[in-house]
Amino acid sequence: MRILKLILYPGLLLILSGCVTKFMPEIDESRELLVVEGIITDQNETNTIRLTKSSPLDRKNTIKPVLKCIVNLSDDLGNTWLLKEKGNGYYVTDSTVFRGVLGRSYTLRVDTRNSLPNGYNYESDPVEMKPVPEIDRLYYERVLIAAETDEAPAKEGCEVLLDTRDSGEGCSYFRWDYTETWEISLPYDVTNKICWVTNNSSQILLKNTSHLSQNNISAYPVTFISNETDRLENRYSIFVRQYSISEQEYSYWSRMQTMSEQTGTLYDVMPSSVQGNMNCIEDPSEKVLGFFSVSAKKTKRIYVDELFSGLPALYKDCAVDTVGPTGKIPNLGVSLWIIIDGSYEIPPYRVLTDKKGCADCTVRGTTKKPAFWESEYKHQE
């Protein structure tokens, strides 16, 4: 419930001379704990479990995979499947042999004794796969960020929303994640001019409808595209995945969300490690991070082609120097690149940039068009 958040703000009203400054505490422990994450769905695809180690806070967060573990999955009928190590901490199921089934409960077991000095056996709680309704409607709305002035045009943003209607699945706890892909086009005639950039969701998206009379969700904000990104410049697409999760998993993500995203007031909830659903067999007090998720999945994709006003011009400061049509350019391809080749113009010239991203879109994305990318413009339903 938003109650906590709603109360926290009034408390801030009275901190008249209160202030907030940066601060990094001294920590004398740095533990690297096992992180287990992954989801088993009902789709005909491989399911991935990833094992990594946590990084101490005072160092940059890098992903440290845990290799050479034995990972297996079993259901409540006694079947077991061994996951194959794909490298980089990923362990996958074989889609020809395993597909998640609605109504079954699954348990994950991880054995790290071969790979870590303090290796243990870990086992998850059994998790039941529950059905999930379709995403009824995935759409977007134009949002005015700043009105038009004499100096500048209006600034607009785009809010992506979804509706879901319960059609008998009885699902009360939802989680979403998404992948965005958008087309960028450099304003210069260079070899790698058009690319597609991909980004995955980085926020925890949850909804609990158990207190509503119907498990309907309307206008859930999936993401907000501000005018500080060029996502909406050409064509943008978002692929949303909807999961039905158990109350325990909802409770886990909800606590994680509270602690990592809603802090900074007088009434902070006391933080503490939230228990996932993985347990260490040999040492029950050993903490295991992450959550083993089992859920049915439904997906939907939309494209946004409309023009939005007030988008940033990310490439307006590219040009840094203009030189003649001939002659060797020192560090060409290393720290300088040609963006406009006017060797055949009158008078001839070449424009240089010191940012590789201005001359080569693969800095940000890939020139390979994604398989799903529709060439026809698809209108919003």
Partner: protein, 909 residues
């Protein structure tokens, strides 16, 4: 020859002496008359003037044979056997007195003006003025040679208000005997016969010394004068002699006239800020309502107003206290040695005593500060019989909010008001009735779509009945209600209103009986609790919210107690008491039963039990012993030992570091056990030269069944909260040192406390264990705490005060590692409370200027200028971490990070 000369000279002098006494030969030829007529005749005849009180001579009859008599011999004869005395002065005044005789040299009495020059008060020897040569005769002179001790007893009242003064120390230095007046102002002291000097002292009042000739047991009523200028400005009372006499270790009394001088933010006199200066009392930080006493959590303090519990004792999230200082008479904090008549909380009792309205004339006070305004009026409806007092406060802070640029704050508003009222009826000498009420309301509207409001309502009726001079009783009925509502209208489909309420009704009977060397207190009380844990309703018709109501909780708490203060010898006294408390949980209720081998969760529910309305389905209870020993080691030092056990049946659920507005009260029930605490304390007190007092107290406390929570638990609207509660036990120990000088134009105090509070979970399942079941510091564990206060009375108009506070930072849980799950970067936290925030240090100053002091003026204004946190130190209240992109950044939040000056203007009328 010489002998004859001497004799005649002697006779001459005798005759002269007789003449000096006046030609007081009376010619009498009237039949039997009453004294009044006799006096009138004598006045006319002899040109004298009689002074007496009607009631003293109402039964005196004058029946003389016609003839000449000396006035003195007539009076001697008339007053024989009665306690009446007379004195004839040089101006031909005949002054009659009851109980005492005048032996002065006859200096004329001084003129009493409203304000006297301070020098008369600042002088430390001023206490001699009163004793002088006045001797009061107590009892029947004929019994003066009998054996055995006798008693002196009576009522002590305030001369101006005629209200009884409780807590006055009555001390006889020669015998090192003493006692204290009880809450009805009555005292009784046992002494051997003979002459004694009785000293009556009380903070804020001029000390009174009375010489007596004690012949046999008798009565001595005393009137004491309030100090005209508050000289004793140090907040915490430590009357020299009180510390020796009190049987309770760890009791502090605060007199109201003093705490108004202490600097505070926003310039408001605040009782809780003053309570924080007492060693052993700490707060979690600014903006936190509540305080911690000797390592106890904030809900372990019983705050009583009009004898009724206050469930939310703050306004504006803890920046103001909810009790208007104008109605307070005195405040007593029991942090150890809680008397048996109090029960229901583990750590302390803060009893706020309120004033009665002025019995003589209409009076009032009004004040303005930057954010609040207040008005108090009082007066008699029937003089000396029926009086009233009404006081109210309100804020107008909205103007300050509208000044902010932030659009959310601009559309917000914050306000509170409170109202206190009391009506006192003196039915007769032995019966007093008073009716009091308190009503407060706070409301915050944030960004025009969210509203948070809470109310306190207290009503109390008390009947004081004095059976005799030794047996007093007090019967009270009260009701205290606290509720809050949070509502939001955005988004419209989910518009909701959430509320919570706790209500308690109680009936108490307390008796106080003086029996020889024993003072017995006994009585009983019954409280009925009713709690609505949470109600979540749609706010309007377009909302889709399904109403959700967590079942009401009901329970009864009953107690019966007896305690005896027994003076064994002059050097040793004992206070032994026992309280038997019990608690009954009543239906209706539905209880889920879980698999006992598993942790309680939705997965382990096995059964549901249902109980109908009124059915008792769980009981708790037990004895609570309260025991103290008091040893007088010398005339200037004493040692006290104390043990007490307390039980607490209601809890405030809070898993944020300070009490937050959405915290809810919960009754003990099927799963949630009551807390039990045992405290052992010892105290040593010494009075040093130059008016300096020193005290050292040491304590150890152990508490069972403390409520703790699984990490990240949402306590609001949680219908199966038993799944998220963890049982823990706690221990707290420490020592408190205090050194202070209370008298003179400069006074100061230094208090240092070292204290630790540790908790440990007792559960077996991994979800119920915090920090692997090891001891960890509680949220309010602050080992070092130093408080220094200083007051300087420059003149009777201008006074200056300063106070400095330093304490160790409170414990905190820090994030330790970050890890990735999917595309999210999450944070893993350290063990609970493994680290500490930086230390806290703050200095405040204030200056108070009293306007015109002339007694004839209608209004007496005063100004207070104060600066809070003059060092401008950014004391860290909280450290938090935010994930920004791929990095975790830490921030520290400081409340009142800069110096805050303020000005308050108030006037008495």
């Amino acid at each position: 020859m010489r002998k004859i000369l001497l004799l005649s000279i002697f006779l001459c002098f005798q005759w002269l002496f007789a003449s000096a006494q006046g030609d007081l030969r009376l010619k009498w030829d009237s039949p039997e008359t009453d004294f009044r007529e006799f006096a009138a005749k004598a006045e006319q005849q002899l040109n004298i003037r009689f002074y007496y009180k009607e009631e003293w001579i109402s039964d005196v009859k004058v029946s003389l044979q016609p003839g000449y008599y000396s006035l003195q011999s007539v009076l001697d004869m008339l007053f024989a056997g009665k306690s009446l005395h007379y004195y004839i002065d040089d101006e031909r005044n005949v002054i009659l007195t009851l109980n005492f005789g005048i032996k002065t040299t006859g200096a004329p009495a001084g003129d009493e003006t409203a304000y006297m020059p301070p020098s008369q008060y600042a002088d430390e020897n001023s206490s001699d003025d009163d004793s002088g040569n006045l001797y009061y005769d107590i009892g029947n002179a004929a019994e003066k040679d009998k054996a055995g001790d006798v008693t002196v007893s009576g009522y002590i009242t305030d001369r101006d208000t005629h209200q009884p003064v409780s807590g006055v120390t009555v001390f006889v230095a020669k015998n090192s005997a003493g006692t204290i007046s009880n809450e009805h102002g009555y005292y009784k002291i046992t002494l051997p016969r003979g002459t004694h000097l009785l000293q009556y002292t009380f903070i804020g009042m001029k000390e009174k010394q009375v010489n007596i000739n004690l012949f046999s047991s008798g009565e001595l009523n005393i009137e004491m004068n309030s100090m005209l200028i508050p000289i004793k400005e140090t907040v915490i009372s430590a009357e020299k002699n009180v510390m020796f006499q009190r049987f309770e270790v760890g009791m502090e009394k605060i007199n109201v006239s003093n705490f108004k001088l202490l600097p505070s933010p926003m310039g408001e006199a605040d009782i809780f800020k003053n309570v924080l200066l007492i060693p052993g009392v700490q707060s979690v930080g600014e903006g936190s309502a509540g305080f911690n006493v000797r390592g106890g959590s904030a809900d372990q303090n019983l705050i009583l107003l009009y004898g009724s519990p206050v469930y939310n004792a703050s306004h504006l999230f803890g920046f103001f206290s909810s009790v208007n200082s104008e109605v307070i008479k005195d405040v007593t904090l029991y942090k150890g040695g809680i008397p048996a008549r109090y029960g229901g909380r583990i750590s302390s009792v803060l009893d706020i005593g309120t004033r009665d309205g002025n019995r003589q004339e209409f009076a009032g006070k009004a004040g303005i500060s930057p954010i609040t305004t207040q008005l108090m009026v009082e007066g008699p409806v029937i003089k000396d019989k029926l009086t009233y007092m009404l006081a109210g406060r309100s804020t107008y802070s909205n103007w300050m909010l509208h000044m902010f640029d932030n659009s959310s704050l601009k559309n917000s508003s914050a306000s509170f008001y409170d109202l206190n009222g009391k009506v006192v009826l003196d039915i007769d000498k032995n019966n007093k009735l008073d009716l009091s009420f308190y009503n407060s309301h706070d409301a915050f509207r944030f960004n025009s779509d969210t509203l948070y409001a809470y109310d306190n309502n207290i009503v109390a009726l008390r009947w004081r009945h004095f059976f005799s001079n030794s047996l007093f009783s007090q019967i009270t009925f009260n009701n205290s209600n606290y509720r809050y509502n949070i509502s939001s209208t955005d988004p419209a489909e989910e518009a909701f209103m959430m509320s919570h309420r706790i209500n308690s009704t109680s009936a108490k009977a307390d008796f106080n009986w003086f029996m020889g060397r024993h003072e017995l207190n006994f009585g009983s009380d019954l409280i009925r609790y009713s709690v609505l844990p949470g109600k979540y309703m749609p706010e309007n018709d377009s909302s889709l919210v399904v109403p959700q109501i967590i079942d009401d909780e009901h329970a009864y708490e009953a107690g019966i107690y007896v305690d005896d203060k027994f003076i064994v010898t002059e050097y040793f006294s004992v206070n032994a008491g026992a309280r038997m408390s019990s608690y009954l949980v009543t239906g209706p209720g539905n209880i889920l039963i879980y698999d006992p081998d598993q942790a309680r969760s939705i997965l382990s529910v096995m059964d549901t039990l249902s109980y109908s309305k009124g059915r008792i389905y769980k009981t708790y209870g037990g004895p609570e012993l309260r025991f103290s020993l008091n040893f007088r080691l010398s005339a200037k030092s004493s040692l006290k030992l104390n043990y007490n056990r307390t039980r607490q049946y209601i809890h405030l659920l809070s898993n944020s570091t300070s009490i937050s507005p959405s915290d809810t009260w919960k009754l003990s029930d099927y799963y949630l056990k009551p807390q039990t605490g045992d405290q052992y304390a010892a105290g040593f007190y010494k009075s040093l030269p130059k008016g300096i007092e020193a005290s050292a107290e040491i304590y150890y406390k152990s508490i069972r069944n403390i409520v703790d929570y699984k990490g990240g638990t949402k306590l609001v609207m949680n219908s199966s909260i038993e799944r998220d509660l963890i049982d823990a036990e706690g221990k707290a120990y420490g020592f408190e040192l205090m050194l202070k000088k209370q008298e003179g134009t400069y006074n100061w105090s230094i208090g240092y406390t070292y204290s630790r509070t540790l908790l440990r979970t007792t559960g077996k399942n991994s979800e119920e264990i915090i920090n692997r079941g090891e001891w960890f510091p509680a949220n309010f564990d602050k080992p070092h705490d130093l408080t220094v206060t200083f007051n300087y009375l420059y003149s009777r108009r201008l006074s200056f005060s300063a106070n400095y506070v330093y304490n160790t930072g409170r414990p905190i849980t820090y994030p330790v590692a970050s890890y990735s799950v999917g595309n999210f970067m999450l944070i893993h936290y350290s063990d609970r409370n493994r680290y500490r925030l930086p230390d806290y240090s703050r200095l405040d100053l204030s200056l108070r200027y009293n306007g015109n002091l002339r007694s004839k003026r209608i209004a007496h204004p005063s100004w207070t200028f104060s600066v809070y946190n003059i060092l401008g130190r950014e004391n860290v209240y909280s450290v938090y971490f935010r994930k920004e992109g791929n990095v975790v950044n830490g921030y520290k939040l400081s409340v009142f990070a800069k110096a805050i000056p303020s000005v308050t203007y108030s006037f008495d009328f």
